[in-house]
């Protein structure tokens, strides 16, 4: 969720310390995993606020200002995921805005449902779905740009690359 390994370690440490200190406040009103994740998300968000990072607002976003889905691509286009490895995906996730990244990681990587994420992140189920979709679109755009860059440099180095497909 931080996009940085050292920060993630520091925050993991802080989250576990908070867990030990606050375990007595758990009242069983939600699942323990949800309570724990909420605590972790709070630690991360507090950290990001302290750092002054601009976050995607947690309230409903204004759909009138949404970017259109990008469809332009060249003849060389192939289905993206055949060329994406985990390292690229890691990098792409790291560049997502924190709010999008949190929803994406919780849902698509860790397998949480939207109602659980809504509880953890303290917003509506609709907002969770909307942010997830935008996160996926942003990832797709970033991965395509990243791959286009690699293809361009690959083509420059190897003039037969285009014919190879």
């Amino acid at each position: 969720m931080t996009g940085d390994v050292a920060e993630a370690e520091d925050l993991s440490q802080e989250a576990f310390l908070q867990l030990f200190r606050k375990i007595g406040t758990f009242r069983g009103e939600s699942a323990f995993s949800t309570w724990l994740h909420r605590l972790v998300v709070n630690v991360v968000l507090m950290h990001l606020r302290k750092k002054g990072i601009q976050q995607v607002p947690l309230e409903e976003t204004d759909s009138s200002q949404e970017e259109p889905v990008r469809r332009e691509y060249g003849d060389e286009d192939k289905r993206l995921m055949r060329s994406i490895d985990r390292i690229s995906l890691d990098r792409a996730i790291a560049q997502l805005p924190p709010g999008y990244r949190a929803v994406f990681v919780l849902h698509d990587v860790e397998g949480y449902e939207h109602n659980e994420i809504a509880q953890i992140m303290n917003y509506s189920v609709g907002n969770s779905k909307s942010q997830l979709h935008k996160a996926r679109l942003k990832l797709r755009d970033w991965l395509r740009e990243h791959r286009t860059g690699e293809l361009a440099s690959g083509s420059a180095a190897d003039p037969t690359a285009e014919q190879k497909g």
Binding site: A8, E9, S12, Q13, F16, L17, F20, R21, V69, R71, Y73, D77, R79, L80, M81, R82, I84, R86, L89, D90, F104, D108, V109, E110, G111, H114, K129, S130, L132, H133, R136, L137, L139, R140, L143, R144
Partner: protein, 235 residues
């Protein structure tokens, strides 16, 4: 008047907008026949849908990473300093804990010297020849260490953990008084020498179970000393 080409573009555009509006729900598993039908007709939207589905599959397969050992060591050290954590430990650890052995830097050197002596004696005896059963010393490690898997993978994992703990220790020891720092360093140097000696023995004699046992015991002692150093609060 629109010609046929303009009409087709307008229809595609409208269908693409409808696709955009429903594709997120479709990916959530909801029934949206429009999405699939349009993805088959429109190359752009077809690729978009394939990309998003591929992204979901890739993400589900991403490994979840555990924090390294130094994070746990720091957590333990902080909680112990706050008095939140009271560790039970094994009988061996409780015995040492009662003696406050690891909390005292001066004793670390003595302990390390003991371990070096024990390891040195046992390994050299074993290299020369098998010991009579009657003089077999009590193992320093717990019995579980005997049943550990092949030394190479275990050794690698232990070496990595030690490296992480040592890295935390190097950061922490800056705040120690010079004499305390020197004592811990001497103790660790001795343990490192023992570990090296045991590793050499294991490499020379891969079937020497006693050398393996002492290697693991030396690692265990080193981990305890490093943990103690991380928890050392100047008293």
């Amino acid at each position: 008047m629109f010609d046929e080409k303009d009409k087709k573009i307008a229809a595609e555009s409208e269908a693409c907008r409808l696709f955009d509006a429903q594709v997120a729900d479709y990916l959530e598993g909801e029934d949206r026949p429009v999405v699939l039908a349009h993805a088959k007709e429109c190359a752009f939207c077809g690729v978009l849908l394939a990309d998003l589905q591929g992204l979901m599959v890739q993400s589900q397969g991403m490994p979840l990473v555990d924090p390294p050992a130094r994070v746990w060591a720091n957590i333990r050290a902080t909680l112990a300093a706050e008095g939140v954590l009271r560790e039970q430990g094994t009988l061996w650890e409780r015995w040492f804990s009662r003696l406050t052995l690891f909390g005292s830097p001066a004793a670390v050197g003595a302990l390390a010297a003991l371990v070096v002596l024990a390891v040195g004696l046992s390994v050299s005896r074993n290299v020369v020849g098998p010991r009579p059963a009657a003089v077999k010393p009590a193992p320093i490690a717990t019995q579980e260490t005997v049943a550990l898997p092949a030394i190479s993978s275990e050794d690698n994992a232990l070496a990595r953990t030690m490296a992480e703990l040592e890295s935390s220790y190097r950061v922490r020891k800056v705040s120690f008084e010079p004499a305390v720092q020197a004592t811990y360093d001497r103790g660790l140097d001795s343990l490192n020498a023992s570990i090296q000696e045991c590793r050499d023995s294991v490499q020379r004699e891969p079937d020497n179970s006693l050398a393996r046992e002492y290697l693991l015991a030396a690692y265990e002692q080193k981990a305890q000393v490093l943990t103690a150093a991380l928890e050392y609060d100047g008293r």
